[in-house]
Symmetry: D3
Amino acid sequence: MKISLLVLVVEDDYFIKELAVEALSEGGFEPQAVASGEEACALLQEDHHKYRALATDIHLQGELTGWDVARQARELSLDMPVVYMTGDGADQWPSQGVPNSILLTKPFAPAQLVTAVSSLLNAAAPIASTE
Amino acid sequence: MKISLLVLVVEDDYFIKELAVEALSEGGFEPQAVASGEEACALLQEDHHKYRALATDIHLQGELTGWDVARQARELSLDMPVVYMTGDGADQWPSQGVPNSILLTKPFAPAQLVTAVSSLLNAAAPIASTE
Amino acid sequence: MKISLLVLVVEDDYFIKELAVEALSEGGFEPQAVASGEEACALLQEDHHKYRALATDIHLQGELTGWDVARQARELSLDMPVVYMTGDGADQWPSQGVPNSILLTKPFAPAQLVTAVSSLLNAAAPIASTE
Amino acid sequence: MKISLLVLVVEDDYFIKELAVEALSEGGFEPQAVASGEEACALLQEDHHKYRALATDIHLQGELTGWDVARQARELSLDMPVVYMTGDGADQWPSQGVPNSILLTKPFAPAQLVTAVSSLLNAAAPIASTE
Amino acid sequence: MKISLLVLVVEDDYFIKELAVEALSEGGFEPQAVASGEEACALLQEDHHKYRALATDIHLQGELTGWDVARQARELSLDMPVVYMTGDGADQWPSQGVPNSILLTKPFAPAQLVTAVSSLLNAAAPIASTE
Amino acid sequence: MKISLLVLVVEDDYFIKELAVEALSEGGFEPQAVASGEEACALLQEDHHKYRALATDIHLQGELTGWDVARQARELSLDMPVVYMTGDGADQWPSQGVPNSILLTKPFAPAQLVTAVSSLLNAAAPIASTE
């Protein structure tokens, strides 16, 4: 059982990061922003149970891309909601994205991010096996 | 034709009730909160046409659970949008929930509730028979 | 891991039962037909792991209805695909059906049953928690 | 309550018509084929209750196109499942198609048509108002 | 690549127009409101690339209805998100609406409009052909 | 415009390969089976336009897995329908699968494969940009 509303935001563009953090906060989530995929993966490996969703840029400063971060997140947590935010990586989503993810093309409205995260969380059916 | 934006909220936890009422109000809905399933069913039987959606907790103080309230609502109004809000009843949703409902696991963000109610309302296709 | 393709068919009308069994067999499934909800529940309680899906009539000869059988199946197996087959119980589906189920109105074509069972199985995402 | 499994097929290409009729028959439907939109509309106006679904070509010999036939069908029966079959009209679907329809691009496999009709029928929720 | 967040709003009722403009603005979109279908079509023909989505009333003052405006928008831009807002045209949606559109029945909550526009934008998969 | 009904099947288990080929053939598709990811990628690189869909096993004899083949296919053709067939790789799908793909857990019924391929083809909206 997750007991927080933490959303991990991975974004190295200051403006977009602020927009995402503010939008998610207004929606009632608790955004935690980092600027690189390496930081994001370290946090997830430390305790992925803390995070209810991931919102990540594609092109980041370090070695890891947003595609990498999302795969890592899903290896740790099979049903982690994933939202990609990108300016020009949209054509890679069909080959590099994970299933049941949403891609937002920049510029996007704050409401799109909140709706994306909310929709993915709301669609996550409680079907963990009883066995 | 429904002419109001009333959403019936059934919740006996004061904090969650306030959160739900505030979130729905900010989204432009008109929440009406009651604390028991018995009160909810009485209101629905009196005039279920008034309500556009139902958001209900599972474990309530009286005899009736949220599962019961939702079934009652759907018997009266076949296309009533239903959102369940629960801390520990998620495993019962696959057997006790009604079709085309959404279950929110507590804690949830206010935006999740607003998105859930909005999505269910928006998906309700106007296909009442012409005959 | 399920290792068979058994589909439990609950139907007391001989003609519909034969149609369902033949359709599922042609689709490559292994239908096992019983005529009452009591028999169906006994089989599920004995070993629900054997069954990949449930297809059930609503009005049955014994005490139990198809609504009851489906709830029982989902209590034992949270992600059991459920297809209802009914002549006149369709109006009860919104209040009595389980989430993510499909209702076929009689008469239905064999292809509808095969498509319904296949679609529900194919949509079952492999997201059982790794933890 | 529909009591037949009639699917109205509108197609003036002999080969495609035969393919559609055979595929639907094998799926257990009862295809009734006509070659023009005028004939199709006459049949629908006479008794649209008889038909469970419509599968129509776009470019037809008379004045009416498949887009016209589908609109006519939906005016008479709000929830009529509609499948378009076309070789080169796909780009018009976003502007000329009706909601909740499926477009098959020729050539298509017989299984695609059967799956399309079955899926649309299976998705038709029984939510005709009780009032 | 769209570089703005313009949403074209077509509405001749002052109250609904204001509600829509305010709701979309709060969601972070840039609504541009016009009162007739003729104005809307002129703007779209001039530069439809500017608009990320269309939200239109059905009954308008000029010759053109909202159904017409949406078809025009989709002819120019195949994947334009379309939201209809109507008091009494809902029964025409199954025959007159475009595929993958959403119809909001008046009165609707501001959150419904924002969720509708956001959901349609978020669902638009980036699958424009690479060829 | 695709002019064939070729489905590329990648499977090194003889029994499953035969089952897939027979099922797809009966559904009216034209299966072309290869046993390794290397062969599949060579065919796709040579002329990916020939193929309407990909159905691939995960664990293959060569260096490439089914996850690799699907990514390669989607890089060449953004909207290629992808079906994975696997006995024990299901837990990797959330992190290694591509968006809008379907995973079939072995054993699966022939009808599941045909329904999966048909559903993905039927859902592919014709929204390639007109510009």
